[in-house]
Amino acid sequence: MVHAGPAKWGGMAFTSFHFGAFVAVVLGAYYLPPLRRFQVQLLVLASVFFYGFGQPELLPLLLVAVLGTYLCLVLAFENRAPWMPAGIVFNLSLLAFFKYKLLFVDAASAQLTGVAPVDFLLRLPLPIGISFFVFHNISLLVDLTREKRPPRLRDVFLYIIFFPQLVSGPITRAAQFMPQIAPKRLGDVAFVEAAKWILTGYFFKLYVANNLNEITAYMDYPLYETLRTQDRWLLVFLYSYQIYADFFGYSAIALGLGLLFGYRLPVNFNLPYISASFSEFWTRWHISLSSWLKTYLYVPLGGNRKGPVRTGLNLMIVMTLGGLWHGASLSYALWGMLHGLLLVIERPFLKHLEDAGPLVRIVRMGVVFLCVTMLWIFFKLPNFDHATAYLKGMFIATDMPNPPKLFYNLALLYTLPVIIQHVSIGALIERRLRRWEPYLYGALAALAFLEAGPDSAFIYFQF
């Protein structure tokens, strides 16, 4: 089947030096007293620059998405019944068009429809961050149409395109973000907290994720065919750590940047790999997406209020759509579906397992981690045939001559931060060694710089 493929981000990656310069300039201007009245406008302009730096040809699309949503929002204040659904349909259509068009057309072919404007749209690449800003738009339409009057256009712009969260979230709900829009003062900035988030984020991205990315490159087709069986297993676990470090790293940087500008974005991860159930996992992994899906999809579908069969069906629908939200691929759909299935299967047993002892909890954590990790194969290999071939090879002894040599000691050293974080040694250190905290964060920064792996795009940028 045709796969949309990851979009290439030619713009300012969070890990680039020009992004650092960009943030420094915007931050400096943002807190200048003469510009305080224009803080929102400045952030909007900076966000437009940030987005346009990578894909200037898609700026009009971003503009259309925001203005279209705003128009529906304003009209919904007069008559909510038709205009709020219209706004949602408008946004979902944008998402569906750009994300799933490649299922039906080959954008590279010389002849498409023959109608120039349509062909132009069909040839546009997947706009970076579309999945995220479309969800922001829907949240805006649902949350704010219950208010007394529509928000200002500039505030809407800021909520949707605020650059720390524009490309990969966290998906902030309008009801959480909009009340924060107010004049900000430098003295109110939580600098230490922001620095901790930013340094932790960069450390997880540069030290853990980018280095593991080099090793897990062997999972790609056709390289995985040369792997020994035990190395296939190892790489799946490494990818599990990598995708966590990559996305947690991004989210932590976004949160820290948000704090620098006076905005508190939601925490997106809470040690997901210590979850003892799949439902707990989804309260700890990509929290902003799961809570968005719960609020705007699961609950409106009836949630768990309509009996066990309907609850199971709702879970399957939500998780499958959640999978498809990541991309137009059978692998993503199956990934979501299997997570839904696991949620349905575990549901009747949860009550009985809650009172079990710590040993049972540890076993449950192991089972959840194993299942979640195995399902990441569908993320790493969105081509369904490749994913199933990889899986199959995990259970068959291989006799391929000259398998690649993987450095297990290196793999362990690069995954160690995730393991330490999850077994809460970090929290212990934080309590016992509080006075050494700035030095520890300084050491993290130095290590992230010295041992940074080769630059690679954030995994979630493609969604």
């Binding site: 600098f191 006799d399 001559p401 300084g442 130095a446 010295l450």
Partner: protein, 296 residues
């Protein structure tokens, strides 16, 4: 007591700067050229070329793609052989690097099997002339792992290498069934037309050979055997025709005659270990016939 933000940030920055300075000094003390483990093909290329740039000029150098890369240096009984073939790369990359350096080896063997890839300009720039290829700051974790690996798996001495060669030769040819991979390789090699890039690279190689010959180096072109099905593919037939048109002089070619019945390929293209050794023996034998290899 809660630290003030400026104090916290200053201490954090000072700790970071102090560590970076300490590591800079440690790198200068222990040698920036310390070899680090190659976890990727790109790493492997950098290590290979770093080693060439650092060590005295060898007598024989091999350049090519992953096909030539399989011929390990320790398979050669000749001393001072360096394999600068780049897996996934073009022979032109290594050739350009060689010609831009002050000293050239006596003999260069150029693989002509895969000539469709463009030369790697970044590598050529990095390793050309006497430019320093050393880094200011080693990566601490990789350096530590490299030190451990070097200690744990030291390079074989000549006696060990000879024993390993004997062990490989005493084994029967592999019985690994490569049909799936071979079929796929055949399909790929009957796909795209290699004419344009191969002609361009053949022309480049011709220019570089002229330059090297003027400076006293002997350059030989060589074709490493593929599996028979691959030899019949469009890719190989076209490539062979182009390079033989570009280099018609028999003196430029190093013909080799390994025992074809004993050669095995992982995928029809890349020789397995034992077969690589057999091909190395054939190369050494051919060089000996020409009386080139051991000539001072």
């Amino acid at each position: 007591m809660q630290d003030s933000a400026p104090s916290w940030l200053v201490r954090c920055a000072v700790a970071s700067a102090a560590l970076l300075l300490a590591w800079y000094l440690a790198t200068a003390r222990f040698g920036p050229a310390l070899q680090q483990p190659a976890v990727t093909t790109r790493d492997g290329s950098l290590i290979t070329l770093n080693r060439y740039a650092r060590e005295p000029t060898p007598d024989v150098v091999l350049v090519g793609s992953s096909v030539m890369w399989r011929l390990k240096e320790e398979y050669f009984s000749l001393p001072r052989v360096r394999n600068l073939a780049l897996a996934g790369g073009s022979p032109v990359t290594s050739l350009e690097i060689l010609t831009k350096r002050r000293n050239l080896p006596k003999i260069i063997l150029i693989e002509t099997n895969v000539l469709t890839r463009t030369p790697n300009a970044a590598l050529i720039e990095k390793f050309s002339s006497g430019m320093s290829t050393e880094t200011l700051l080693l990566r601490p974790v990789r350096a530590a792992v490299a030190a451990y690996e070097t200690w744990n798996h030291a390079a074989p001495d000549p006696a060990q290498a000879r024993a390993e060669r004997d062990r490989l030769l005493s084994q029967p040819p592999s019985t690994f069934d490569n049909k799936v991979y071979l079929d796929r390789a055949v399909e790929q090699m009957n796909g795209d037309d290699p004419t344009a890039p191969t002609r361009a690279n053949a022309a480049l190689i011709g220019t570089l050979i002229d330059d090297m010959q003027r400076r006293g180096t002997r350059a030989f072109l060589i074709h490493i055997p593929f599996a028979p099905k691959i030899e019949d593919s469009r890719f190989v037939r076209t490539t062979r025709q182009i390079v033989h048109e570009a280099f018609p002089a028999p003196a430029l070619w190093l013909p080799i005659n390994p025992p074809m019945g004993e050669l095995r390929w992982d995928d029809g293209v890349h020789l397995d270990e034992r077969s690589s050794l057999l091909v190395v023996r054939a190369i050494e034998s051919s060089l000996a016939e020409r009386g080139d290899a051991r000539r001072p």
